[in-house]
Amino acid sequence: MTSPRLEPWEVFRQEKDGAPMQHGGSVMAPDRELATHYARELFGRRQESVRLWVVKRADIVDLADQDLLQPPLDRSFKKPGGYVMRDKLAAARVVSGQSKPKARSK
């Protein structure tokens, strides 16, 4: 009888309510049920997580293609850093005679 072999299952954990799921590590398990047990043990036995996601490493799509993720042409119009208005605003204040609005307190 061929037995299922251990394979890696990745475990993602949530530190507290509302927090994002973060990668914690992996466990070796032959199936979903034992993977769940072991995930709880390695990443939750100290009550350090409020939620766990357990997924077979083989089921994860690993995208690292830099042509897709870091395409070479300028995309600064998609980021705040692509909109530098300091000089334009300074010129506008000169025309309007208004001073720069106070920074909002945090």
């Binding site: 009888m1 037995s3 251990l6 466990v27 070796m28 398990a29 049920e33 034992l34 047990h37 072991y38 709880r40 043990e41 390695l42 036995r45």
Partner: protein, 254 residues
């Protein structure tokens, strides 16, 4: 129910039996720490053993409140003959199949016992039972998962499981050994049903699983009346081990 109204002796016997059960199984299972079949499973069985000791500690603490004794003194400082754990737990750790078989039997039986104590009239015990029930779910999950895998895991796994069930079978139902003055517990609304009824309920609960996996049901317990007395050589060894340091200098703080 006020402490004055609690049938002290009967409750004491109940608590002692439950605490000793958890203490002994916790000790036995902690023997797997470091040598379990696989690294991940090692961490898992260690958690189960710790949980059992934690439950024992809570039960000894409650007993200590009733009798005025120190919980560690209750746990450690009795002669072997004064322990009240069930004979199911008087076997050596054995192989992995033995441990799983024993855990399955004990966890399912303990589950029925806890159910009969849930919502009882003595609040401190009812509260503790409420917490234990939530922790025990995890234990039953683990035991079921493993019972299934051993029963269906091929010739060697299955034959070892069957051998374990054969060895443990005559002692399985001793979890439901009669308690001294059980009637007082029932009358006081602490225990919902007598032990024989709980044993029946347990058999009904595990019947379908055993049938599906084609495993022999445990027979009626051998010498049920003494099911929590007459501890043998395996416990004598365990008792000696857990007293090694403590007995080396009685009365000091560790």
């Amino acid at each position: 129910m006020s402490v004055a109204a609690v049938p002290g002796v009967a409750v004491g016997e109940l608590l002692r039996s439950m605490a000793d059960d958890e203490f002994v199984i916790g000790f036995s299972d902690s023997e797997w720490t470091g040598i379990a079949p696989q690294l991940e499973e090692d961490v898992a069985i260690s958690s189960l053993a710790q949980d059992e000791i934690g439950h024992a500690a809570a039960l000894y603490a409650l007993l200590g409140e009733l009798t005025g004794e120190d919980p560690d003194a209750i746990a450690y400082d009795r002669e072997p003959v004064a322990y009240r754990h069930c004979r199911l737990l008087d076997h050596r750790r054995g192989d992995w199949a033995m441990t799983i078989a024993r855990r399955f039997i004990y966890d399912t039986a303990d589950g029925v016992r806890l159910e009969a104590l849930a919502g009882g009239s003595w609040a401190p015990l009812a509260d503790l039972v409420g917490k234990l029930v939530r922790e025990e779910r995890y234990h039953r999950m683990h035991a079921s998962v493993w019972l299934d895998r051993l029963a269906c895991g091929g010739d060697e796994a299955r034959s070892r499981l069957l051998a374990a069930l054969t060895t443990l079978g005559p002692d399985a139902a001793t979890v439901f050994s009669p308690l001294p003055d059980e009637a007082a517990l029932i009358e006081a609304g602490i225990l919902a049903s007598p032990m024989p009824e709980l044993e029946t309920r347990w058999r009904t609960a595990i019947g379908p699983t055993f049938a599906t996996l084609d495993l022999p049901m445990p027979p009626p317990a051998r010498d049920l009346a003494h099911g929590r007395l007459d501890h043998g050589e395996a416990f004598a060894w365990l008792w000696h081990e857990f007293n090694t340091v403590r007995a080396s200098e009685p009365g000091v703080t560790w």
